[in-house]
Structures are given as structure tokens and as C-alpha cells.
Symmetry: none
């Protein structure tokens, strides 16, 4: 047992969330991030790891795993909106453009639907690099009753 009340780590309760509310998380994707993601996922696709393989392709240079950018959406949901204590029910992802080493990916979630009876909400989720949408999709989240 901690001497400190850990429930203060919890995120937003259902009643604290409003339609249209947004949150973001962003990270500059480095070569080391791509290597680390390959490590943890086991996804050693040469498009991520082998500069000579990828040079003659449409990508020209190594690209990040789409699921790495997708993981930044999970970061918004799990740490900010609604944050800790929520249950991630579902996520849809459309991969629309590649992310290259040095690109800064901004993941954004916006509340689009609130179902107070079921304590469930939907969020429009997107990842941007500058003006370009690299991922869009939708998340559904459940917030258990506290107490």
C-alpha cells in the first residue's frame, strides 16, 4: 500500500467529458523509435529497416510502422482523454500517408458521441504530420463506475 492516494492518477470520469472536447500527443519519430518498434513488435519488414531495399520503391527512404503512429492515439486515450481508468473498447485505423524519420506526428482525439447510460464515448482520432493526415479513424471507450 502506498502512503499516497493513487486514485488521483485516474483520468476523467464520464461526467467530466464534453462533446467536442479534444486532446493531443505528439512525438518526433526518430530512427531509434523505428528500431525500437521493430524490436517490440517483431515487425522486421525491410521497408522499416533496410535503406537499400526501400530506395527504389515509392517510399524512397525507410518509413515508420503505421502502428507506431497508431500507438500515439492510444497514448492520448490512455493518458489524457479520458485517461487512466478507462477501458479501450475499439479502434479503427485508416493509414493514409507514410511517416519518415524526422517527421513529427501529432495524434488528436475529439469526443464525437457520449452515451451516459452505457458510460461509453466515441472519439474521432487522427494523426497529422504538418498538414498531412497520416491516419484517421475512430475510438470507442468505456469508463467504469468508480467507488
Amino acid at each position: 500500500m502506498s502512503a499516497i492516494d493513487l486514485s488521483q492518477l485516474q483520468g476523467l470520469d464520464f461526467d467530466e467529458i464534453k462533446l467536442g472536447q479534444t486532446a493531443i500527443f505528439g512525438k518526433t519519430v526518430t530512427e531509434a523509435d523505428i528500431l525500437t518498434f521493430a524490436a517490440v513488435s517483431g515487425d522486421t519488414n525491410p521497408v522499416h529497416l533496410n535503406e537499400e531495399f526501400v530506395r527504389p520503391t515509392m517510399f524512397k527512404t525507410r518509413i515508420a510502422h503505421g502502428m507506431l503512429s497508431a500507438s500515439f492515439i492510444s497514448t492520448v486515450i490512455g493518458t489524457k482523454l479520458p485517461g487512466p481508468g478507462c477501458i479501450y473498447v475499439s479502434q479503427s485505423l485508416r493509414f493514409k500517408a507514410p511517416v519518415k524519420i524526422g517527421d513529427t506526428v501529432i495524434a488528436r482525439a475529439e469526443v464525437t458521441e457520449l452515451n451516459p447510460e452505457k458510460r461509453r464515448l466515441k472519439l474521432k482520432t487522427t494523426c497529422h504530420c504538418g498538414e498531412t493526415v497520416v491516419i484517421d479513424g475512430e475510438a470507442e471507450v468505456f469508463i467504469p463506475k468508480r467507488g
Copy 2:
């Protein structure tokens, strides 16, 4: 330029893929994997990192990020079926059960639809821990013409 023909790294071409074809990837999820995924994603939700926070919750012990298991689906798509050279168009994910440290997650993809004109295919994608389905969903993939 490599002295070796790197095109042999490419995965399956559209005509090599059959309805019902399957592939799997599996990994035992360790504490180090969860820490690494938190590091690369920025998802520092205490449900993944803080044993004291999670003890009184329904999970009882730290759980893996849902997107970590989802990344194993990307590994099947990107390294096996269809493998290198394909374009990941979309992925849906329903998170159905938690994954704990020491669980072995098996990600599986099965071809459910082939569209030869558009060179696109759909795959039913699931992650299992033993008998339990922890994720299900669907992937869509595009295979560019080669040569």
C-alpha cells in the same frame, strides 16, 4: 547498390494469395516489452506501469498495451501475409480481454476477400492468449504492381 538482388526480400504477389490462406506470429509478452512499448509510444498509463495503482482495479496486475498486441497483427501482415511490398490500408481492432505479463499472444491473419482488379485483399485478424480471443478485427491491404 547492393551486389545482391534485394527484390527477393519481397513478400507474396497478389496472384500468389488464396482465399482462406493464414499466417501467424506469436510472442510471450514480458515486463520489458511493456516498458519498451510505453517508452516508444509515450503511453505511460499507470495500468501498464504502476503495480500499486492497478492492484485494486478489475485488472489486479499490470496489463500490456492493447496496441502492443495489435502490433503483432502488423507483423503478420508486414512480414508474412502478404509480407514486404504490400501497403497497409486499414485495420480495425476490438479489444476483448487484457493481456498480462507472461501471456503468449498469437496474432493470426486469414484472407477473407480478394479484389484482383484493385489488387486489394481483406483479412480477418485476431490475437489469442490460449483459448481467449484478446483482439479481433479486420485488415485491408493493397499490393502494388511490381517491375
Copy 3:
């Protein structure tokens, strides 16, 4: 017990392998790879880690561990030819040229000898950076009977 048949993860059986068969794995060697290899091996030789130490030497800039490139041969053997299920019996390595940060190393194995009675095979194993052979040698592998 998994609900999914994990034996499909196994690589090639002895009878599926032919003389002259080849497989490759390639990776662009990054600064992060060299640091990670130093970490896991404990090989903190300044030729890999200390740019000022190495500048006046014949190498001019930090080089990768020879065993890092050698590990890519193990990746070909263990994941492709013959792949999972085989037993790595021996490996010889001649280090012929240094690998620098940013070089793409292509490891290649070619079956040169098949001994069906002992279920053993030999492979010529090389690592290339472009036209340069950086490692050559030979591997011996055993494939246990299945079932």
C-alpha cells in the same frame, strides 16, 4: 495451450531444402544498433563507441561490432533457411572489412552440402555492404525429425 496450431511457425523440413537454395536478410546499421549491441554484449571497445579515439586510426569513424553483422547470418538461418526448428551446429566467420554507421548489411546463406542421413546441411554465409564482402564463412545446421 494455444487454440492455434503453433507448428505452422516451423521452418523448412530437411526434404524441402535444395542445393543452391539461398535466403537473405538485410538491415541498415544505425548508431542506435551499435549502442544496443554494446549494451547487450558488454563489448564497450572504444572503436565502437568513442569517435575521438577512433578518428586517428585506420577506421577514421566508429565501426559496428563484427558480431552484429554476424548476428544477421543467424537471422537468415533461424528465421528463413532452414528457419525455426533447426539446430545451429557451427559457424565460421572471417571479418574482411569494417561496417560503418549508415551502411546496409545484407547477410546471405546458400546451401552447399546436404547430408540426408544425418539430416545436416552446410551453408556458405556472407555479409555484403554494396559490392564489398564484409564477412564470409560457413554454417552447419541440423534439422531434427518432426512428429
Copy 4:
């Protein structure tokens, strides 16, 4: 330029080495080491990563990559005997027994041949876990003239 004389980082010069001289390096192999080695090598063979795959095999539990233990030999050569400044010419490896999580691997090199004209030496190289030899083989090393 460093204010400190970095040549003191250099290992043994040829004349400082005697027949029969030995050095060792040892490390307890952890689950995290195996994951890290899989990451850096790309060797995602399930025998290293997937506890359920390996359970019905002769290994019973996940084993370390043979090349991880082999890298400890490189650590002895590159940091101790002869240490920094030497050129690794060749290494032979016979993999004789598996290494499991928690095993402590001791790599040992012993000088067996000195060729002062060519400034080359040979070393008998072994890795032990307790009484068991897990790798044996031979290294050849060249020590360039200093000055």
C-alpha cells in the same frame, strides 16, 4: 581533440602478450537480453520469443541466441585480450548446448599461438554455463604497429 591522451584506452601491444595468457567476461542472461538481441539482430525465431512454441520441443523453455553468447567472446577479445586496437580476423563457433534465461555465461579466451612476424595471434575461445561448455572455437587477431 580531447585534452586527455586517448591512446591510454588501447589494449595490449603484441609484445605484452604471452602464450597461455587468459581473460574472461561473464554475464547472466536475462529475458531482456534475449529480447534486445532479437531486436538488434532481427532474429525473431520463436525458440527465443515464444514460450508456447518452445514448450513441446527439446528445449522446453525459451533459449538465448547462440550469437548472444558468441558476442561475449568478442567482448573478451575487444576489451581485454588483446583489447582495443586489435583487428578481429576470424572466429569459429561450435554451439554445443543451449543457454536459458537466468544462466550465467562465462566467455574465456586463451592465447594458443603467437606469430610475431605477422603480429597475429590465435586464441582458444569457449563459453561455459557452470560445468557445461556451451560454445567452443578459435579466434584469430591481428595487432597493428603503433606509432
